[in-house]
């Protein structure tokens, strides 16, 4: 078992797994050493979470085997994995909201009194102690539903750090944590490492990987790419392993020429106090609303579909003057005029997660028809959109909730592309989407513009706006401060444009 260094605590050999016809893991190997933190990296959908769910007993592998200290493990359910000392902090929060912190901490392994009742006193005391290790002071009798997301995350972590667990899996434990919280977590991880436990650490944040991990294994498209010692790799090298291509290829070429105006705002006042501005979107153009977060970009976009009522101004679409749409029928009315709106929160506002990929794609087409028109399945459209957008799905009837973030976003885009809209208004086109899918989405938006469409986009990631757009309108205080050609803009120039004028006015 020795290979120069320490013996493996856990060895996952040649693991393969398929869900239906989509193979998510092919011949993947993972070796965990005691007293080390092992990063598991890869794009969303690369199979990291599935691999960890197999180790946690949630899923069963189709092929391959798992060894612990050289002995094969059989993990038909999470019970057996817990019994084998494998403890997991899952990516999606899995605390039960109607139980208290202490109850959640001990669920499934409650200490009992001699009479068979729950030893609540011990549960409370040990919960307080476990939370204190993470610098957390919370009432153990508080219901989890009353906690903030960050507090829940910590409780989840505290729950995972069990005294008898020799393997701890942390699946994106820092998603809801700020820098100070992350440092607290890192301290705990170092302590666990010193105690000789094996820790799997999944994260997209490079700085965390390099500050806490000892080794890294990279997966790509469900396949094993390689394992390296952290001291032997660089962030760029890791990204290259994950993506398999250079970063400069991420953004498509900008528009060569622009057509006539398609969307014109003039004398637009977002709110009664805001300064009026004009904004024009041309055919073939991708126009970004840049600036600091929450300065009114969203209000401007949502005024176009009736989700925000502007204080004044006129709207022209394809040269035709329109009233600003109402909240009740704005989205439908504008969609009929060829304007599609892709909201930021695709899970809450965009997709019907429980419905199939096919239904989510064609629902826009059905929405054009009277309510009692028989809804045809529109198989050809679904097939065309699935192919054109490279949507990775087991079948058109797969619930959209089971797709990766990037594929979900493509389905949402596909809904409007299927309607052949001329103008796309998109908030955060790549939120929660991995690098590979980001690049694909940029390409899709550019193709759409090149085919005669026009795109109005906002994003928190300024780099994304600079790379993707032709022109940027810098928004600050609910108004457009200035416009910049995107190929000359930098994060610094955008910030300067947003703040200097305001500074002068004040």
């Amino acid at each position: 078992m020795f290979d120069g260094e320490t013996a493996c605590l856990i060895e996952m050999q040649s693991i393969s797994k398929a869900f239906g016809s989509s193979r998510v893991l092919r011949d993947v190997t993972l070796r965990l050493r005691p007293g080390s933190v092992h990063a598991l990296m890869g794009e969303n959908g690369a199979g990291k979470s599935t691999l960890m769910k197999i180790l946690a007993g949630v899923h069963r592998s189709d092929e391959g085997r798992i060894l612990k200290d050289g002995n094969p493990l059989h993990l038909p359910s999470p019970r057996e994995a817990l019994a084998a000392g494998i403890s997991t902090v899952f990516q999606e929060l899995s605390l039960l909201p109607n139980l208290t912190i202490a109850e959640n901490m001990f669920l499934g392994r409650e200490p009992l009194l001699r009479g068979g009742g729950l030893d609540r006193k011990r549960m409370r005391a040990e919960t307080v102690a476990a939370l204190a290790e993470l610098d957390l002071r919370l009432d153990p009798d508080q219901l989890v539903s009353t906690l903030t997301i960050a507090e829940r995350q910590f409780v989840e972590i505290a729950h995972g750090i069990k005294a008898d667990a020799s393997v701890l899996i942390l699946d994106e434990p820092t998603a809801a944590l700020n820098a100070a919280d992350v440092e607290v977590l890192n301290r705990s991880i170092r302590r666990l490492r010193a105690e000789g436990r094996a820790i799997v650490y999944i994260s997209h944040r490079m700085d965390e990987i390099f500050s806490i991990c000892d080794e890294v294994t990279v997966l790509k498209d469900g396949q094993y790419v390689g394992t390296r010692a952290i001291r032997d790799v660089t962030p760029d090298g890791l990204i290259a392993m994950m993506v398999g291509r250079e970063l400069s290829d991420l953004f498509p070429a900008r528009a060569a020429s622009l057509g006539k105006p398609v969307l014109e705002l003039s004398g637009f006042r977002t709110t009664p106090k805001a300064r009026a501005f004009d904004l024009t979107l041309h055919q073939g153009e991708i126009l970004g609303l840049a600036g600091l977060e929450g300065q009114g970009q969203q209000r401007i976009m949502r005024a176009l579909i009736g989700r925000h009522t502007p204080a004044g101004g006129t709207l022209r679409l394809h040269g035709q003057a329109l009233k600003f749409p109402s909240a009740a029928r704005g989205i439908r009315a504008m969609a009929r005029l060829g304007l599609g709106f892709v909201p930021e929160d695709r899970k809450e506002e965009g997709l019907m997660l429980g419905l199939s990929v096919a239904a989510n794609l064609v629902i826009g087409l059905h929405a054009e028809k009277p309510a009692f028109t028989p809804a045809r399945s529109l198989k050809a459209v679904v097939q065309r959109m699935t192919d054109a957008l490279h949507i990775k799905t087991a079948s058109p009837t797969t619930p959209v909730a089971s797709l990766s973030g990037g594929n979900q976003q493509k389905v949402l885009l596909g809904r409007y592309l299927a309607r052949e809209v001329k103008v796309l208004v998109i908030e955060e086109p790549t939120r929660g989407v991995d690098i590979g899918a980001k690049s694909e989405i940029y390409g899709l938006l550019r193709d759409f513009a090149q085919a005669g469409g026009a795109v109005l986009v906002t994003s928190r990631e300024t780099v994304e706006l600079i790379g993707l757009c032709d022109r940027l309108a810098v928004v600050h205080g609910d108004t457009v401060m200035t416009e910049l050609p995107a190929n000359q803009a930098t994060e610094h120039s955008i910030l300067a444009a947003a703040l200097t004028v305001e500074g002068g006015a004040a």
């Binding site: 039960l96 909201p97 009742g117 508080q142 009353t146």
Partner: protein, 320 residues
Amino acid sequence: MTQWFKSGFSARRSRQGLWGVPMVIAVVLAVVLAFGTDQFATRENLFNLIAQAMPLLIAAIGQLFVILVGGLDLSVGSVISFSTAILSLDGPAAVLIPAVFVLAGLVGLINGLVITRLNVHPIIATLAMQYILLGITRILRPVSGGTVPDIVIAAVQGSMLGVPLPLFWGLIAAGLAAKVLYGSRFGLHLFGIGGGVAAGMEEAARTYGIRVGRNIVLAYVACALFAALAGAFLAGRIVSGDPNVGLLFELDAITAAAIGGTQLSGGVGSLHGTVLGAIVLALLANGMNLANVSPFVQTAIKGGLLLAIVGLQSRKKMGL
């Protein structure tokens, strides 16, 4: 203590549901009836009230177990009728009484297995069981008749030191349920499973290593056992077997639990709330009878009350 008391009215920080509402209603009803009528606060009427309330109270406690895991049991009424029919058969009490509980346990086991193993919706699974059991009951006892073991009659109709024995049935049922729901891993797991179902995370409880299927089956077994207890009580009261005596009991039991603040989506509810819900229904029926309100109007009022109380406690307010 005061904190706990407050939780009955603001459900934000508690998983017990709004049990304060039925408590207030029960107190108000009792006061109004005590001062508004001559007959209410008589020994005879109170004895009668307790005996009337008890089978519903016991059945509602059983129903609480399955509602907590996000289920429902529509076979409760049939189990009650079936139990009275078994007790009215010819045979020694030492055989008939255990037989009632063994058979009821079997019914619960089948309900639970059909729901968890065959993946049938609880309403359908227990509705089917309701029909099946009703049919068997009518074969055993097509019309009401037979006699019930003396010991059962004595346990229901007697009194001890001036306290009517039915009260002890309720105390024993509630005590048992309290021990199981609040003092055992099983009870905590029921809340956990139901909380997961209600929050759309069905798999959560399983990832904690809880045996979800087994616990759900046991909840249906518990529900059926409480229904059998309610059936035995009713048999002692009517002194015979009756294929129709349990009719619609399952719906009243659900009503009592819901009025008591138990959420049908699972994971939220309490024993004392459910008991209060049953008491409200009993007081309402007793009071309206005393006031000579027509039974048809009574039924309509019961429906209105259910709607009004449940309307107070939407899921969103719970923050769960």
